[in-house]
């Protein structure tokens, strides 16, 4: 309905392959980003701290996992572990190296995560599907155990937790107890925007195509000359990098301090998995929508009953939450296995064809 595509013709391949070839889409996306940056002007501390930052962190993780699973078709349940690697690496870097710029530290820790990702991606050459999924579980358990056991990782502090030291970037404190929620929010948002854009570029280029080729028909891909090992490992590396960066942000900009529990199978790996399934496999935008959904539902469930004046015990609430959550997952898988991305796609097509049905 709002699309006016007539006259938006492409005279170069560059325009034709733009991320958003249609003017109206470009406008919309730009508007959303701008609004996102303006949010702190209206949102209160609770929302920034408990909801929005969490959402941004998970969105980044979801994009990472989606690159691996949605595009390269490699199932992974090790998201939490890779995030943990990022977090602990960042902790070590910032605490042990004097004057290490925190942003650099975060990026570097992404690098560490990538390395670990490659390591645990190696089996993917031999094994597929659920076998691989289970293999990544090994990473999940082993790494968390390691961070728990070996004191060196948390500087042997008795509490066994890692705590984000106060660090600032361009004179603004973005980590540590006294960093303002706004500052953290903007940091995370910037990371998300930039890396979402990178992801979008990757998946529409040679590498993205190679990944999808492996996903859709690995034999054909190999016969075309795509090297399976390189391609898969690259997917693991980049995916883990995203998770690592997200993990670092998780501790430095969101939680402030954390133990390995923060990264365990259910609180991270599965959650992110849900995000991309519900958001839509093989869709960057979908990852973000999925993250929003999964983050908001529990918030809603905690806040809604009181709103309508029902008081329920936290235990009861927790179980209710589990049930509703499970039900929604199943429902979603039944109704729209292709997730939000597909729904959005359908809506968009309708708008483009408006007022005609086709």
């Amino acid at each position: 309905m709002f699309y006016r595509e007539a006259g938006q013709f492409k005279t170069t391949y560059r325009d034709d392959q733009a991320v958003f070839p249609i003017l109206q889409d470009r406008i919309a996306v730009l508007a959303i980003v701008v609004l996102a940056y303006l949010v702190p002007l209206v949102a209160n501390e609770y929302w920034l701290q408990a909801v929005l930052i969490q959402f941004l962190v998970f969105a980044l993780m979801a994009i990472g996992l989606n690159l691996l699973m949605g595009y390269a078709g490699q199932v992974s349940l090790g998201t939490g572990a890779f995030a943990a690697v990022g977090a602990y690496a960042c902790y070590k870097l910032t605490t042990n190296i004097e004057g290490m710029n925190v942003i650099v530290a975060i990026l570097l820790s992404g690098g560490f995560a990538a390395a670990v990702g490659i390591l645990f991606g190696l089996p993917s050459l031999r094994i597929k599907g659920f076998y691989l999924a289970v293999a990544t579980l090994a990473a999940q358990f082993f790494i968390l155990w390691l961070f728990n056991k070996v004191g060196w990782f948390y500087n042997d502090n008795p509490s066994g937790t890692i705590t984000a030291p106060p660090r600032d970037f361009l004179g603004v404190q973005i980590s540590g107890p006294r960093a303002t929620p706004e500052a953290r929010y903007w940091t995370c948002l910037t990371f998300l925007v930039v890396f979402a854009w990178f992801a979008k570029n990757l998946v529409r280029g040679r590498i993205g195509r190679a990944w999808m080729a492996i996903r859709d028909m690995d034999i054909a891909a190999e016969i075309i000359g795509i090297r399976p090992l390189e391609t898969k490992l690259l997917a693991f590396a980049i995916s883990s990098f995203y998770c690592g960066v997200a993990g670092a942000l998780m501790v430095f900009c969101w939680l402030g301090s954390a133990e390995t529990e923060a990264f365990d199978l259910f609180t991270v790996s599965f959650r992110v998995l849900f995000m991309i399934i519900i958001g839509g496999l093989g869709s960057i935008g979908g990852s973000i929508l999925g993250a929003a959904f999964i983050v908001l539902v529990p918030i809603f469930l905690t806040n809604f009953p009181p709103m309508v004046g029902i008081e329920i015990s936290t235990a009861l609430q927790k179980h209710l939450e589990e049930i509703i959550f499970g039900v929604m997952i199943v429902l979603f898988l039944i109704v729209e296995p292709e997730g939000f991305a597909r729904l959005w796609q359908i809506l968009r097509e309708k708008l483009r064809k408006w007022p005609f049905p086709y």
């Binding site: 391949y13 570029n201 054909a220 075309i224």
Partner: protein, 281 residues
Amino acid sequence: MSGVATERATQMPEGATQSQTGRKIGDVIMKVDGVSLSFGGVRALDNVSFDVREHEILAIIGPNGAGKSSMLNCINGFYHPQEGSIYYKGKRRDTAKTYEAAEEGIARTFQNIALFKGMSTLDNIMTGRSLKMKKNFLWQALYFGPALKEELEHRAKAEAVIDFLEIEAIRKTPVGRLPYGLQKRVELGRALAAEPDVLLLDEPMAGMNHEEKEDMVRYILDVNDEFGTTIVLIEHDMSVVMDISDRVVVLDYGKKLAEGTPDEVKRNQAVIDAYLGVSHE
């Protein structure tokens, strides 16, 4: 205009005979020598030998289960024969890795379509060019500078293929939604995108209606003609085989039954016997 055409049209070595498309047939480009392959107890290929000459169209025929596809799979290194060897451009390749075949200029299509269902026609064809694209992921992440330049250059090549196969209309349609005949064409396009020297076609016309077949034949001939691509194809439709191929190799139960020009093969008693019982599509 069409980048592919101008680029390759000129390579035409001196050779004796003329191919169906009036193109000079060069010297031997691939030598299959006593290849045997077995799965468990089953002997799929039994001491098969034949040559492939540059620029020719060679057909491999035979009843179902004669080991035709296995032969192609050996040639592009998806299977590794237990005995015998395959020399390609003087280099032994039967032990090579699968993905190396493409690097050496061997492309193929598959009996039951092996397209990347989730991708558009254009992307499928672009994927066919992956080999030729080298920019690393950092540039790609920026989608800028060299990476962008590379991407656009290859898009132009891909478009040339699309134009050649006349599939402009479905450029951006996900291949999963295409009718069978078109999918086959796209798969051919994907193979062509790699600008191969040797093209292996596994039943390119299987399950096509008459005019689809005619089109496909035209494209195959055009490919051989315009780009001088050597073509090895498996096909059941005898009339087609006899029309377009320069030479024919007949397999039966993994053994080579005969080899020669279509007419020679047609007259070969062993072939006739082998085919009497067998019913053809």
